[in-house]
């Protein structure tokens, strides 16, 4: 039950604390690195013993935050006051220059200024008010989706605390989706989008697919939209915040009937689907523990450690998933995993081909758009 106490922390207002709480807290489902051979029987509960505790976590009701752009424009200010805010925010962003780039490859002023435009797009009701600025009159009220005070706080947190922009506005534009995100949920990365393209072929067949460690629900939603009425998606996550945010996103896209979001560890909540899954996709935590402290502030200080830390080699969860997959996938079932790069890809591919004992075929390593080996795909025999 130690797990739930961590997640019960109210994230909404004390976000800088979360990371420190989580950082001190080792992941609950740590599974020591073990090599499994191909298991096809259904008597497989033994292999998941180490994570069984998590499935009994009582789901707590976390209320997902509404992204800034969806909030009602119930606040207002004057054009000169808005203009003052913009001037202040620009100055703050410009003052950064390339400081963050030098510290940890963070954003530079150019990018921060672009983010400021997006922030204004989301916060100000009528985009025309943004450009008027200086020449505007104080007579006309400018509709806002957050009070001007809050806007100062939000933009301040972006620069001074390096709070990720996506948490500031509460959403991430990912592929053709706009997904709600908040502290406690990983912000989906552009690289991950390729998983959907890789699965496309397999998705034509329909069937039941699983997205393990769904986070914001990004993959589950994208995949479900390809599947259409042809299939269903089961999405799991250990984090109650992720589960509630994913459910919210699923609802926003009207996919409640096609996607089931379940709380629990990896395949644990999906026991009834053993041997039935047509496809499995996952982007589990894969950063080696020792690299965590050197991460860019936006990631290391603000994103949930549960979503990032993959154990000593970063492979703990990937191995766990690969092993269980032989039981869960139906014959001919397809899988895609995301990894940390070349080294992990090769280890994993080798493991799937040689160690699991002829469970899988056509194991392939695929690079992301930056040319870094990123994905491992294959089929259950």
């Amino acid at each position: 039950m130690k797990v739930s106490s961590t997640f019960l922390t109210p994230f909404s207002s004390t976000f800088p604390l979360i990371s420190s709480i989580l950082q001190n807290h080792r992941k609950p489902n740590y599974i020591p690195f073990r090599r499994y051979s191909c298991v096809t029987s259904s008597s497989s509960s033994s292999s998941s013993s180490s994570s069984s505790s998590s499935s009994s976590v009582t789901p707590i009701s976390h209320k997902p935050q509404i992204p800034l752009f969806l909030r009602p424009p119930i606040y207002s200010t004057t054009q000169p006051d808005l203009h003052n805010f913009i001037t202040w925010a620009k100055t703050l962003a410009s003052s950064i220059g390339s400081t963050f780039v030098q510290i940890d490859d963070g954003p530079d002023s150019t990018l921060l200024l672009r983010e400021l435009n997006w922030f204004l797009d989301d916060a100000v009701e009528d985009p025309l008010d943004i450009s008027h600025g200086r020449s505007g009159t104080s007579a006309k009220r400018v509709g806002l989706r957050a009070s001007l005070d809050e806007m100062y706080k939000l933009w301040g947190s972006r620069i001074q605390e390096r709070r990720p922009f996506q948490y500031v506005v509460g959403c991430e534009h990912w592929r053709d989706l706009v997904l709600s995100v908040e502290e406690g949920v990983l912000i989906p990365r552009p690289e991950t989008g390729k998983i959907v393209n890789l699965a496309e072929e397999g998705l034509k067949e329909g069937g039941v697919w699983a997205d393990l460690g769904t986070g914001s629900g990004a993959l589950a939603i994208a995949i479900s939209r390809v599947l259409g009425k042809n299939g269903r998606v089961l999405a799991t996550d250990l984090s109650p915040v992720a589960v509630s945010v994913a459910s919210y996103n699923v609802e926003r896209y009207g996919l409640q009937d096609s996607i089931k979001v379940k709380q629990g560890s990896w395949f644990e909540p999906l026991k009834e689907f053993e041997g039935q899954l047509a496809g499995v996709v996952s982007n589990p935590p894969y950063i080696p523990s020792e690299d965590i402290s050197g991460l860019q502030a936006e990631v290391g200080k603000h994103e949930p450690i549960l979503a990032l830390d993959g154990g000593v080699e970063g492979l703990d969860d990937l191995f766990h998933l690969c092993t269980r997959m032989s039981i869960m996938l139906k014959p001919g079932g397809f899988f895609v995993f995301e990894t940390n790069g070349e080294k992990q890809c090769k280890i994993l591919a080798d493991y799937l081909e040689n160690v699991t004992g002829n469970c899988f075929r056509d194991v392939t390593i695929i690079s992301d758009f930056a040319g870094i080996m990123r994905f491992v795909t294959g089929y259950r025999i």
């Binding site: 534009h173 990365r189 690289e191 894969y286 950063i287 979503a307 930056a370």
Partner: protein
């Protein structure tokens, strides 16, 4: 009102009877019954007559006929044939021959050109003098025709009609599509002017009739109608300047800084701001597509998208090099500097079928690449995409959208428009309508100087139009420059039509 309408239509048929020439011209038959077979199969389905609404000329005179104009998506031409399942087969090969048209005239033989040549004074609108209204409208029609290069237009239209009447036209569907689209668009313009002209003549007849019959209600109705026409004609004059094939389209405006570092980067961003506020003043929607900031200040390059009717028609007047003379705020020695910024304007073609088909395999797509491990280790909102069209070397970049997906889509749209523009330029050159080189077409020559010091002036070297208030120009007050350039380039063809 009923009374008025009834009278009007009555009068119409009366007028129609008096002007058999108009009738003859619109029905002039180069009939070729086999033609029908040459039209594509969708021919019968595509149109419920566009023509019907505009057949006022026939009014009640031929109420039995049910017309369907042949049309592909764009075409609004005067091809009359019976609806194929309804009523009378009128003709299947009638084609409008524009040069055979005779100008409409009133019962006593007054034509628009006649009015233009007459000494009728043009008084203020509120003088309420019908001759004055009529004369103003006639002047407008004259100017509109001049701007449209009326005679040339009619000849071209006939040429296209001949082409369209060829029985083997649809053997080459691409060519046929092009011909019929152009025919349709020219036809639309011609018809619009002719309708307007006819309307004027009718009102004059009606007014005279009303006076003869002492019908004061009809007289005042007609006066009002004339006044409405007078006001309407100003708008039409303007639109006639924007009669180019793509003038009504939205567009991209690109600004590129000349050599000279920070000072010219700053100038480029001033020029960009000028266009943003110009576009916003005109009620266009402006979105930033691509921007490459300068090292210290300003921009090296930027592209905005300007959405709205005639955006391209107006903005194309700005293509060229813009020169700035001022004491540079970036020069501690306070010397005078001259900087340049080049402006390109690219239409966004509306008709998908006229766009160049870009092959996926001809593209190279580069995405922003975070340093280091990527994946979970990196969180950046930078999702810039650059697309290169390998055969032409055209490049489009976008980084202002919030996802890679969107950046790619936007960059692709810009690329498509650039490739289209190149193709248009290439074809124009083949038809030798243009003698400029392709680079001249896209970036042009120096067109305007903005002098901030030692004196204040903005002057267009093409038209010599100048103002002494650079501040207002840089704030987007560009219409004076744009309209003077457009009218100069359109109205330069002497006084003949």
């Amino acid at each position: 009102m009923v009374h008025f309408l009834a009278r009007r239509s009555n009068l119409r048929s009366q007028i129609l009877r008096q002007t058999p020439k108009i009738c003859a011209f619109l029905f002039s038959s180069k009939s070729n019954p086999q033609n029908t077979q040459n039209f594509p199969p969708y021919y019968h389905k595509t149109r419920e007559s566009n023509f019907q609404e505009s057949t006022f000329l026939f009014g009640n005179a031929i109420p039995l006929l049910n017309f369907s104009g042949y049309s592909t998506n764009l075409i609004k031409n005067a091809k009359l044939s019976s609806g194929y399942d309804q009523g009378l087969v009128f003709s299947s090969g009638v084609r409008f021959f524009a040069t055979q048209a005779t100008a409409p005239a009133t019962s006593d033989g007054l034509t628009v050109e006649g009015i233009v040549a007459s000494p009728w004074p043009i008084l203020d609108e509120d003088e309420g003098d019908w001759k004055s209204h009529a004369s103003a409208v006639a002047q407008s029609i004259h100017l509109i025709k001049k701007r449209l290069q009326w005679k040339k237009l009619l000849v071209r239209l006939d040429l296209l009609s001949v082409e369209l009447n060829k029985p083997n036209l649809w053997d080459d569907p691409v060519h046929a599509g092009k011909i019929s689209r152009e025919h349709g668009s020219l036809m639309g313009k011609v018809k619009e002017v002719m309708d307007f002209e006819q309307e004027l003549i009718e009102h004059i007849d009606m007014l005279k009739l009303a006076r003869e019959e002492n019908d004061s209600e009809l007289e005042s109705e007609t006066m009002n109608a004339l006044l409405r026409m007078r006001r309407d004609s100003k708008e039409r004059e303007l639109e006639a300047m924007l009669a180019g094939e793509h003038d009504s389209a939205s567009c991209y405006i690109e600004v590129q800084a000349g050599a000279g570092g920070t000072e010219s980067n700053d100038w480029a961003s001033m020029v960009m701001e000028m266009y943003k506020s110009w576009a916003q003043r005109r009620g266009y929607r402006v979105t930033l597509v691509d921007e490459m900031p300068g090292e210290m200040a300003g921009i090296k390059r930027a592209t905005i998208k300007v959405d709205g009717k005639y955006a391209y028609g107006y903005a194309k007047a700005e293509v060229g090099v813009h020169r700035l003379v001022r004491i540079s705020p970036f020069d501690s020695a306070k010397r005078r500097h001259t900087s340049f910024a080049a402006v390109a304007v690219i239409p966004i073609l509306k008709d998908v079928s006229t766009r160049v088909q870009i092959k996926e395999s001809d593209l190279r797509i580069d995405r922003y690449r975070a340093g280091g491990a990527g994946g979970q280790s990196v969180n950046t909102t930078d999702s810039a995409v650059r697309i290169t069209h390998i055969p032409t070397g055209i490049v489009a970049t976008c980084q202002n959208e919030r996802s890679q997906h969107q950046n790619k889509a936007t960059a692709m749209a810009v690329l498509q428009s650039r490739v289209d523009q190149l193709e248009i330029a290439r074809q124009a050159q083949m038809n030798s309508q243009h003698t400029e080189s392709l680079t001249e077409i896209s970036w042009g020559n120096q067109i305007r100087s903005y002098v901030l010091q030692p004196y204040q002036m903005v002057k267009d070297s093409r038209t010599n139009y100048e103002v002494s208030d650079p501040e207002s120009v840089l704030d987007g007050d560009l219409d004076g420059f744009i309209l003077s350039f457009l009218s100069a380039s359109v109205d330069k063809h002497g006084n003949s039509l």
